[in-house]
Assembly symmetry: C2
């Protein structure tokens, strides 16, 4: 009878650590995000934090992975309310771009950038990046109702996610939301028109 | 009669420091890029380096600014050899994407990412980012022969640069060149078709 609450507490501690990791990375950057700092921000003892995540790399990759899964599940759930027909493409593109302008993207940017100059971290991060790319692509195809077997649609969905990543990066230092809304609107119209085009190359 | 060679030497020292800064940022990251490390890599004494660039921020912003101007001048010069007519859009888009996948972009990414968690650095970097965005836009408009007064063309050129930035980010941890070449080809075809579209919104 005692095990259940203990497991619940353990799960709640883990979740607090994962959330604090994303917040810490996004606001304070890679250099400041150590297990001790995150534990303190999460209100968890350093020992308990290290029981869950022995190294900083364990903590950070677990946080990105867990939060990404949660974000994609949210996007899928919210999609139930998206318009069918005209306006759907823009609504879907907006959702995906939102993901790339939130704290999770900012946190991932800190880790990707650190990994660019750190081979051991790169080894940990590359499979995660591959998974994120694959899942974001699948979710976008699904929400747009695009035919991923069609090479034009496949590449334009990829381009849409590359655009979203670029828009995310443009928002890191200044609020780029007004310019971004125009780009999203234009891109969505162009995407709608292009999804009828014949394949290139 | 003595001043000329002295000025030349000073200019050469400055240039070596700026080039070493970009290489150091791109390969070793923000944390490792200090005036001492760069001076050593450039084969310049620490005193001489600090004479030219009193602080790390002076050195890094000067390096990004100088190298960006050089890169844009190169892109403009190379454009003389670009095809006129079909194929030009793809050639121009490729050139701009190349800029976002080179060492200069990797160096800038290190600085932008550090600035996201450092307000003093952010103050220095924001005007630089604004200038880079403005100039890259103007060069792209010029090379594409696009009508920037047309809102569709204006937004699609911006989207092209956002896409290029996203493709640059996707290349930081792994070689993404094969996927990228398909995206560039598809987007160039879509861009050509879209530049004939009526304005949206």
């Amino acid at each position: 009878m005692e095990r259940e609450p203990k497991q619940d507490r353990s799960r709640a501690t883990r979740l607090r650590l994962l959330e604090a990791t994303i917040d810490c990375l996004a606001a304070q950057g890679w250099g400041a995000t150590t297990v001790s700092v995150v534990a303190e921000q999460a209100g968890v003892s350093r020992g308990a934090a290290q029981h869950h995540f022995p190294t900083r790399e364990d903590l950070i990759t677990a946080a990105l992975d867990f939060m990404f899964d949660g974000r994609m599940a949210e996007i899928r759930e919210e999609a139930v309310g998206l318009p069918i027909g005209p306006g759907r493409t823009e609504a879907v593109v907006s959702r995906m771009v939102e993901y790339f302008t939130g704290p999770l993207f900012r946190a991932a940017l800190q880790v990707w950038t650190a990994a660019a100059a750190d081979d051991a971290l790169r080894q940990r991060v590359v499979p995660l990046e591959a998974k994120f790319g694959r899942v974001a692509h699948r979710v976008t195809v699904e929400l747009l109702g695009a035919d991923d077997a069609d090479p034009v649609a496949h590449r334009l969905v990829q381009a849409t996610l590359d655009l979203a990543r670029g828009l995310g990066l443009a928002d890191v230092l200044t609020d780029d939301s007004l310019r971004r809304s125009h780009i999203i609107r234009q891109w969505s119209a162009t995407l709608d028109a292009a999804l009828g085009q014949p394949a290139v190359g």
